[in-house]
Amino acid sequence: MAASIAPECNDIKEKYDTCFLKWYSEKYLRGNTTSNDCEELFTKYKTCLNVVLKEKGIDSMLEDARKSTTKEFDAETLRRG
């Protein structure tokens, strides 16, 4: 699995990614789309990550990107779907 932008978050990210991949291949793709196996790990990973995104000023870049792309990106999927 790829590393995190924040080395201090690598451990929890690795745990979360492993959990997600298992859920994705064994549950989600088999029709069990609503189960929420990895939520706790994800919350911990996000808490770790968000500190670093803020420090590096990436959080505001992301906010801008969200504002300018969300509608366009969501529409892209609907159009193709």
Binding site: Y28, M61, L62, T69, G81
Partner: protein, 190 residues
């Protein structure tokens, strides 16, 4: 604006491809070394459609041409914001991305789609990619063209290496999965 597009087919089922896609940038992929980090920002499943929507931050270190660095300043680290949608009902993965870095001078919008191939939908997957690259810097059209050309060139090199690297990830994923299955069935038998 310049458009870069490409398509190719992977000889793996859509389920395998869409799973391996989550670890496209892992150590098994020794070709896409410009990607140094991939972080998941948010993830949710739409209750009505079952579509899994994921936001990720992708961090790259590029060897940027010196003239580009002199022109725009900045560092060789760049960030990409990606939103992906998995629709298990139609078996389609759509990944949309945009550059966060240098967004005041250059806009790179990419859309990648993975879906079962028409000729062999159960065991092969079609990949299609389209990127629109627009230089936004005011001023000379000549410079804009040069910036766009250099970006398209880099994009197409990365795309080629990305394909090669992803093939390696697919092969390893299949091997690990079958070993895991064997391990599980041995355990059941003993």
């Amino acid at each position: 604006m310049k458009v870069f597009s490409s398509t190719c087919t992977f000889d793996y089922s859509w389920e395998e491809v869409s799973t391996a896609n989550w670890r496209k940038y892992c150590p098994w992929n020794d070709k896409s070394t410009h990607v140094v980090a991939v972080d998941t920002l948010s993830r949710n499943v739409d209750l009505n459609t079952g579509i899994l929507r994921t936001e990720r931050l992708i961090t790259c270190i590029q060897s940027v041409p010196q003239w580009v660095l002199s022109l725009f300043g900045g560092s060789a680290t760049s960030h990409v914001y990606e939103v992906s949608y998995v629709d298990p009902a139609t078996k389609r993965v759509t990944m949309c991305s945009t550059n966060l870095t240098w967004s005041n001078v250059l806009s790179v919008r990419e859309i990648v789609v993975y879906q079962p191939s028409l000729s062999d939908p159960t065991s092969s997957t079609q990949f299609s990619q389209e990127a629109k690259i627009t230089a936004l810097c005011g001023g000379w059209q000549k410079i804009k063209n040069k910036v766009e050309e250099a970006s398209v060139e880099r994009f197409s090199q990365n795309a080629k290496r990305g394909r090669e690297g992803f093939e390696a990830v697919l092969e390893m994923s299949r091997r690990v999965f079958s070993e895991q299955r064997e391990h599980d069935s041995n355990r059941l038998q003993s």
